[in-house]
Symmetry: C2
Subunit: 300 residues, 2 copies
């Protein structure tokens, strides 16, 4: 599992930084978290293919988190998409999108399903590859965080060993589930001779926009990576709270309290050109921290 | 008068080309024609200041012509704009914008006035510096073209000569209107001794999106520069008509029939990477033609 940052600035684009969007890749599937203005262009720029995208999650109805959505939805239709697309967002999002489509006389070429976000914790997607759940964070309008968990795809086959023990391909799925294989000659092939541990499941928490609060901490305990907004530095801690935003040190405190392995910072105010102070301030509380850079892909 | 191209691609962004937007500069005032996704970021990139912007014109309700508008309007508010902004667009645009603002709990910091576009020719703005009028073009949804005309600012003062003839600064405005000046000693200073002709008024016509039609030709006769969409090359002339778009040669025919001085092409389909064939095909009918390049400023 990895995440590519498409936009990491707060509402005002600045210093070449775009409004919020990021693409999480799980076994080749892309999940889009927020979709600020310019997301479709950033996806092109960084080589992310919409054909791998089936799920889009919008945290809240501030424009810097969704103004790129109508364009992306339109473009995929113009390109003849046929695969279904699932959109998860605030309940007011869908009527707005429908209006935009209607005004353009636009009928999408693909099935489009909207799932309104609930006010409480809920599982949104649960399939063979990943689970996505949502939880409320605290902002000036209703806003949701998301937790993406990859699943183990079972044990990993060792192709050479499978050949050596003459196991038919039809039994590979059974081996992946951890079972042994008995050959026709009665010889028992132990599972551990022909497989090894599959990749460890990973967990990624996305928390933006929010003021500093432990109200959602329970949902992100022990994650591998947490992305937490840090609109301001500590000198502006009062302003941060009054605007329902957080500082880099507050984000670090959340990562520490959640016992996360890694912290990614973003949603920087346009007043900051240099992001190094965000790393320095956060690192006083939580060492493994990175101010995100657009176009960079981070392992989770 | 000059125009800076912010986006010149058709609906699908491609090859680094953005959806439609351009900024016309008249005596330092900026007029924005359409506002595709990413316009505010393009304005930053090319050094255009929103403080000089008071009038935005939206041709029609296809997203590639207005999806950048909510972000731009929001951003100017976040930056504390206080000067009024006038928006001219299809009647359905304003309720949509209002909804977007309301959903974000967003009150603009500046007076915002919306003027719905009429179905027929009309003058939209008429002030000391310029006049903007609008006329219907023919597209799959109601769509308007625009004509921007700069005004002469009167005669141009020759500062050295004004000093030489000892004319008080209080009389400069009278000189600009072409009048003579009588000194207290009775000496008559002829206007032509202390002024010269002011800049010639210029006329710029903006015609996109439209199929090939002479229905609006009467409104653009004799313009200095016409920007006419050329979504396709001539090989796709049938497709162009069926989609209510034009080819480069058709755009050239309009420029020729309008007796324009210069033709700018844009709204290129994302199927074309190389734009040189647009110039070549158009030039067979109208010589002074340029396929526009983003970030380039053209004299009108």
């Amino acid at each position: 599992m990895k995440v590519t940052i498409l936009g990491n600035n707060s509402a005002l684009p600045a210093f070449g930084r775009h409004p919020t969007s990021q693409a999480v890749s799980v076994y080749g599937e892309l999940l889009l978290l927020d979709c600020g203005e310019g997301t479709q262009i950033q996806m092109q720029r960084f080589g992310l293919r919409w054909r791998n995208l089936h799920h889009i999650f919008i945290s809240h109805m501030h424009g810097d988190h969704y103004f790129g959505l109508p364009g992306l939805i339109n473009s995929m239709s113009l390109l003849g998409r046929t695969a279904p697309l699932y959109l998860y967002g605030p309940v007011s999002l869908m009527p707005l999108l429908q209006q935009i489509l209607d005004l353009a006389n636009n009928k999408l070429t693909y099935p489009f399903q909207f799932i309104p976000l609930p006010a409480d914790y809920a599982i949104l997607v649960d399939n063979e590859l990943f689970r996505v759940s949502t939880f409320p964070v605290i902002h000036s309008v209703p806003c949701n965080g998301f937790l993406i968990e990859s699943k183990t795809k079972g044990r990993k086959l060792l192709p050479e060993k499978c050949k050596e023990y003459e196991i038919p391909a039809a039994y590979y799925d059974i081996l992946k589930k951890g079972e042994d294989y008995e050959r026709k000659d009665g010889f028992l092939v132990k599972n551990e001779w022909v497989t090894e541990d599959g990749p460890r499941p990973k967990r990624y928490a996305y928390c933006t926009d929010t003021l500093f609060t432990d109200s959602f901490l329970q949902h992100i305990i022990g994650v591998d990576t947490v992305y937490h907004e840090s609109t301001y530095l500590e000198a502006d801690v009062t302003k941060a709270a009054s605007r329902f935003h957080s500082t880099a040190m507050q984000a670090a405190q959340i990562a520490k309290d959640a016992n996360a392995r890694q912290l990614l910072l973003g949603h920087f105010s346009s007043k900051y050109k240099d992001l190094e102070p965000f790393k320095m301030e956060a690192a006083t509380i939580f060492q493994n921290v990175e101010p995100t850079v657009e176009g960079t892909t981070y392992d989770i």
